[in-house]
Symmetry: C2
Subunit: 128 residues, 2 copies
């Protein structure tokens, strides 16, 4: 007996999967508790970490000092706005050039690529 499928883990994954806002643990907690108020926040911390290890959930690197999570593990990059602090998904930016360069110049085995663009978003640019 190694790992068990618990109701809580299922709810946590389902909830994150339905969200597209890259929530922090506490934001995810709130959403999970809307479905089942008995779920403890330590359980959310534990299961999200497990899901990251299992590769089912992705930890999004941001510059606000708090971890954000994304149930979409397909390769895509993020943009964070300095003004409104929103996180955007960009699915149309290809990272193959980077991967190619890595293979050409280095012996490192790359397993994941984290990319974050920082700047001013479309909307905030206009309201200046």
């Amino acid at each position: 007996m190694n790992t068990r499928n618990t109701r809580q883990k299922e709810i946590i994954f389902q909830t994150l999967n339905e969200m597209h806002t890259h929530p922090t643990i506490l934001e995810l907690c709130e959403a999970v508790r809307y479905k089942d108020s008995s779920v403890g926040q330590a359980t959310v911390y534990r299961n999200v970490s497990k899901l990251v290890e299992e590769g089912k959930v992705r930890r999004v690197l941001t510059n606000d000092g708090v971890d954000h999570y994304d149930a979409d593990c397909s390769q895509h990059v993020h943009f964070v706005c300095r003004k409104c602090h929103r996180l955007f998904d960009l699915y149309d930016i290809s990272t193959s050039s980077l991967a190619k360069q890595m293979k050409g110049y280095h012996e490192f085995d790359v397993e994941k690529i984290h990319i974050l663009f920082e700047g001013t978003c479309d909307h905030c640019k206009q309201s200046l």
Copy 2:
């Protein structure tokens, strides 16, 4: 009178500039105190944040939950090893393809690009 040049700020920047290990605040603290043991850690936190705002120091995004700092603000990417957790600088990876795609597809103003490769380094690959 707006900002003042303090001895502490100078020591902190000099010290970080001499280090090439992308230290955390506490690691930087240690190095600073080796030169002047009277410097408080709150002062290191405050000055490093100021230096980041001034664009003289760069906050390196990593996946270990702690901020790391780099006095080299020229555009370059980082690689973190999952085994030994070391951070490497890669100066030969060009990000111009990404910048070009961003300009072509989006209206966002990109001011900074954070890139972190995650995987297994040269050295750790061999010792398996």
